[in-house]
Structure formats: structure tokens, C-alpha cells
Symmetry: C2
Subunit: 223 residues, 2 copies
């Protein structure tokens, strides 16, 4: 059995959950509040972050979204989530880096930190300037999603890949908080509606974080 150490607002944990569902691989989830820095968890992953994937047969611990995503795609080959040709694989990975690095820095980390972590960890009050900045940035990303889906079936090409998974994992965190301006980006919304309707995304839409209800449309497939 596989176990994923995760926390709810971690887009990288969401990405791994979605990918395993796409592959049809069963797993358990363990909530890890990384800020508690539990010695047992640090022994598993000295970087102290999630996701961490533990396989109990053969016993193996895989740390970090990069290693886990590639591990999953190598170990559970069908359906492939990176692509077939060198060109397809490079394009998927380019977009994974786009969302996991750029989108994360410019949007997810700002919004989640200001609106969730600060109050949860009692680390001061949200800075409106950061939230506004993220709110400007997300528009460019939604526009880029529209640029891509105007030309392709999914973000990286014909097939659903880790590019879609990464993008949707980040957007789902922001959307839980109601901070995605879907009304101005109908075509990005169409793409996200298609992601939402996949069985692999079902559990993500059922996430409910104690003390923080999701936005009104978070779960709706028709939003």
C-alpha cells in the first residue's frame, strides 16, 4: 500500500493525489502539519516538506513533488502522464515547472500564506498588498491557459498530462478560497470544468478543511 503525507492546502500534495487516481493506484493519506517539525517525519524527509510518498512493498520513501511525479510515471506506466516523444515530454515538464514554480511563487504561495497560514499559525494579519498582487498575477496565468487551450486539447498537447494536473492542483487551492476570477476567463473555466469532471479529481472537490468552508462554487462541476 502507498501512503501520502500531505496537507490540505499543499498544491504539490494535491498533484500527487490526482496523479495516483489517474493511474488507478490505491493509497492512504496522512495529514502532516509540517510546521510542527515532528522528528519522525523529519527522519523520513529531512527537507521537512510534503508530499512524501511511502511505499511499503518494497519499502521505499520518496520525497518531494518532482521525485514522486517521475516515480509514479515510471512505476505505473499506464496511462502515461508525461508524454511519448521527447518533444511532448519536454513540453509537459516545461508547463509543470511553469505552475509548480512560477504560478506557485506568483499566486498560490501568496494567497495561501496570507489567507490561510497566517491566521492558522497566528503569524500576523494578512497583507492586502500581497493578495492584490497575486490577484493581478493570476489573470496572466489564466490568459496563458486560454492561449494554450485555444491551440490544444489539453495544456501540453492532445493528452491529459502532469501539466494539467499541476495547473489544476494549484488552481484548486486558490479556488477553494474563491480567488479565481473565472467570470472573466470563460475558456480557462471550460478547461477547468473538464478537469473537475474527471474521476481523479473527485476527492479533491470533496476536501473540507476544518473551520474553513470552500467557496460556493468549489465543488460544482457546472460553476
Amino acid at each position: 500500500m502507498l501512503t501520502i503525507y500531505h496537507y490540505w492546502f499543499c498544491p504539490f500534495s494535491r498533484k500527487v493525489r490526482i496523479a495516483l487516481q489517474e493511474k488507478g493506484v490505491e493509497f492512504e493519506m496522512k495529514l502532516e502539519m509540517t510546521w510542527q517539525r515532528r522528528p519522525e517525519f523529519l527522519a523520513r524527509n529531512p527537507a521537512g516538506n510534503v508530499p512524501v510518498l511511502v511505499n511499503d512493498d518494497p519499502q521505499q520513501t520518496i520525497c518531494g513533488a518532482y521525485a514522486i511525479a517521475e516515480y509514479i510515471d515510471e512505476k505505473y506506466a499506464e496511462p502515461g502522464l508525461i508524454g511519448e516523444t521527447a518533444e511532448e515530454r519536454a513540453e509537459t515538464r516545461r508547463l509543470v515547472e511553469w505552475f509548480d514554480d512560477k504560478f506557485h511563487r506568483e499566486v498560490t504561495s501568496l494567497i495561501v500564506n496570507e489567507k490561510v497560514m497566517k491566521s492558522f499559525l497566528k503569524r500576523g494579519t494578512p497583507e492586502a498588498a500581497n493578495i492584490r498582487y497575486a490577484g493581478q498575477n493570476i489573470k496572466h496565468h489564466l490568459k496563458y491557459i486560454e492561449y494554450l487551450t485555444d491551440r490544444r486539447n489539453w495544456l501540453a498537447g492532445n493528452d491529459f498530462t502532469f501539466a494539467d494536473i499541476s495547473a489544476a492542483a494549484h488552481l484548486s487551492c486558490v479556488d477553494y478560497l474563491g480567488d479565481v476570477p473565472w467570470q472573466h476567463f470563460e475558456k480557462a473555466k471550460d478547461w477547468y470544468a473538464r478537469v473537475k469532471s474527471r474521476p481523479s479529481f473527485k476527492a479533491i472537490l470533496q476536501d473540507k478543511i476544518a473551520g474553513l468552508a470552500p467557496s460556493a462554487h468549489y465543488r460544482n462541476l457546472d460553476f
Copy 2:
């Protein structure tokens, strides 16, 4: 022929240069000052960052350190720089993320931004607090390198991999500026001396940035 768009203090560009040398693949380098946001470059890579690898036969553009590293290892298989088994591959990638994400955030980006980019781009004066913070952080990373090399030949295991390449790429940027406290980390220094003596690292040690001389020991194999 391959062309790498790079800039001198970009650890991710250095990583790609070293990896291609390890593989024995010839390439040209083009200096790209990403902050100029050249339209021709943005057309190649809308994320606007380096490294970008352009292969002219077959014509293909690969953007970003993640996509390029995996592309290189898939296309030029020998010598493998990720590992053979699932366990080895996960360990290499865990450490690549460690250096490309954690070390970059906690050390390289702070030092390079404060000591190089701010004055080069005339964006204010260096903040001593950031440099001090990076100076504290780097000690933990050097200690971790010692922990690993106490137990292994190279960082991820028996073989030289992208883990060593990423770590050395970041450290070489910081070392150019003389900000690695090698004197307190003899065993990390031994590991870095072994990296420095590899033919693949030779060009890195010859880097000379206009107007900014490297630290006295930057080029010495015996430092």
C-alpha cells in the same frame, strides 16, 4: 548543434552546461540577459527565464532546468546522471529539488540578488540582513553535504549524478563571490574538490564575469 541560452550567475544554466559536458555533447552558449525581456527570447520561452536549450536537428526548444535535465538524460543516455533503480532515481531527484528549490531559496537567490543583481541592475543597495541570513543557511546545507558524503561516494549514492551537479552549480555561484565558508567544512570541501577536478567542471571554473573578479580560490583545484 545545441545552443544554451544562459547567464553567468544562473545556477540552473550552470547545471545544464555541466551535464552536457558529462555526456560529451557539444554545445554553444548564448548570453541572455533575461531582465531585458527580448521579444525574440520570450517567443522561445514565454516564462522568460533561462536555461533554454535549442536543438537545431531536429529543431526543438526545451525550456527550464527540469525539462532540460530530464531531456538530456533521456536523449544522451550514457553516462546516466539520474540512476538505474527506482530508489536511486528518486534519491537523485529528491536532492536535485533540495538544491534547486531549498538551497536556491535559502542561499543562492539571496546572495546573487543582493551582491550582484542589485548593483548590476541598479536596484538599490544590498541588504546586509539577507546576506547574513544566507550565510547562516549555507552552513546547514554544507553540514548536510557532509552527512551525505560520510555515508556515500557521491551525494545520491555510488555514482556522480544530477544531485552533485545541482549542488555544485549552486555552490559555484556562491563560491565565485567568496561566500562559502569552506574552512569550517573540510569534508564538504573534499567533495567539492572532487567535483572541481572533473573535466565537465573546467569551463565553469574559467567563467569570468565582466567587472566582477572571482574569489581568490574560485579556480583552484587545491583550495
